[in-house]
């Protein structure tokens, strides 16, 4: 079945047949991706979301990084720096870091689970459009991969001051970055909206 789509980047109208699984439909004028049909989108995204939630809990509850220097050990978790910024009077900054490194990924994962789990069992979650739109609008604000690069830079900066000991949470955090990226890549928003439309 053909359907009409307007390119979201240049507004050109296209009559698009749904591409085959794994296929991409691009705008003929500006090259923007109109529809990328993902293989097994719902199952893959759901399983990656659940994996992500488990990793998220580990990353936030276990030791993250420690600095050993001259007999002193400073043990930290993911939230320590945020608390410390807050204590130093940088409340806005602390909130921004909290939002981009913890809250945005958490709401993303929880929101995806909320939308996908009922769909998997052919049910509809309450207020699907609102939750799914929220998840999509938060996407640019999750910055865990930038945080990871920040850790790398910090480790180099502190190399002279002492020994850096990575904790189990750091490894969970690293894997979580890839799991989140994979779950975003396997999600097909058209599929979600189609399911919602058909059920109404």
């Amino acid at each position: 079945m053909d359907s009409l789509i307007a390119c979201h980047e240049c507004d050109l109208l296209h009559r698009v047949q749904p591409p085959p699984e794994g296929g991409v439909a691009k705008c003929v004028r500006c090259g923007a991706v109109l529809h990328h049909r993902k293989r097994n989108s719902l199952d893959r995204t759901l399983s990656l979301t659940i994996a992500g939630l488990i990793l998220f809990v580990v990353a936030n509850t276990h030791p993250f990084l420690a600095l050993k220097s001259g007999g002193l050990v400073q043990q930290t978790t993911l939230i320590t720096g945020i608390k410390e910024l807050y204590a130093q009077g940088m409340e806005a900054l602390a909130l921004l870091v909290l939002f981009t490194s913890i809250l945005a990924p958490l709401v993303h994962l929880a929101g995806m689970l909320y939308v996908l789990l009922p769909l998997k069992f052919n049910r509809l979650p309450r207020n699907l459009p609102g939750v799914f739109r929220l998840v999509q609008s938060l996407q640019p604000w999750g910055m865990m991969e930038v945080f990871m690069l920040g850790i790398l830079v910090s480790v180099v900066k502190l190399a002279k001051m002492g020994e850096i000991v990575p904790g189990i949470a750091l490894y969970s955090f690293l894997v979580l970055i890839f799991v989140l990226a994979a779950s975003t890549a396997s999600l097909d928003p058209h599929l979600i909206w189609k399911r919602w439309e058909q059920s109404k």
């Binding site: 240049c10 507004d11 009559r15 220097s69 400073q74 720096g81 981009t100 739109r133």
Partner: protein, 212 residues
């Protein structure tokens, strides 16, 4: 896939920002805000007030960019002595100690990317306002790049967060965040909002007006 050589606007249709459903243009007599029948997002032909909003955010970011680079971003208090560092002094320190890959990463993420992003957005805004028809393809690509790389400027904010958490060795050494960190965060947030409020379809709108 067939091209209809017609834009949604010419066909009196609106593409929903939330779910990309094509909807009929709401009648101008209706004073209520129009919403997408599928996902409930409010419908706009183009992002509302795109040029004015983007300019305002870009100018604000240009202003924040100055204190972000001039004021200290961290203060190291070691054995009673305090030493303040700006972003550039950190870069220079790494260059001097031979760790130029790290120096390069910090320079690109904190100094080059925000400035390049602001300049590109300004050029896009000027080109749209002058109704330029110059290489819309490349301008759209520039826009996509600015939208994608902006987040990496948060690097220095995260570095400060981690340093502040780790370096608390009582009298030996502590690190405090400096005022530049706040301005720097403001640059990143305002440029991200600026990129979001710019509508790339404005680049292409000029074309249709020429063919008419």
């Amino acid at each position: 896939m067939k091209q209809l050589a017609l834009t949604a606007r010419e066909a009196l249709l609106v593409s929903c920002h939330g779910c990309h459903l094509l909807c009929r243009v709401p009648s101008p007599n209706d004073s209520r805000e129009a919403h997408c029948p599928r996902c409930g997002a409010s419908l706009h032909q183009r992002k509302p007030n795109s040029i004015a909003r983007t300019w305002a955010l870009v100018l604000a970011a240009f202003i924040f960019y100055i204190p972000a680079n001039v004021l200290p971003i961290t203060t190291v208090i070691s054995l009673g002595k305090a030493q303040s560092d700006t972003i550039m002094s950190g870069v220079i320190y790494f260059m001097a100690t031979g760790m130029w890959p790290i120096a390069l990463v910090i320079f690109i993420a904190s100094v080059f990317v925000p400035l390049a992003k602001l300049l590109i957005l300004s050029c896009l805004l000027i080109s749209v306002q002058r109704r330029s028809n110059w290489r819309p393809h490349d301008r759209t690509r520039l826009y996509r790049i600015t939208e994608a790389v902006g987040r990496w400027s948060m690097l220095d904010i995260f570095v400060v967060t981690i340093l502040v958490a780790l370096v608390k060795l009582r009298a030996l050494a502590t690190i405090e965040a400096g005022p530049a960190a706040v301005f720097f965060a403001a640059v990143v947030v305002t440029t991200m909002f600026a990129a979001m409020s710019f509508d790339p379809r404005l680049i292409w709108d000029e074309r249709e007006q020429r063919y008419e």
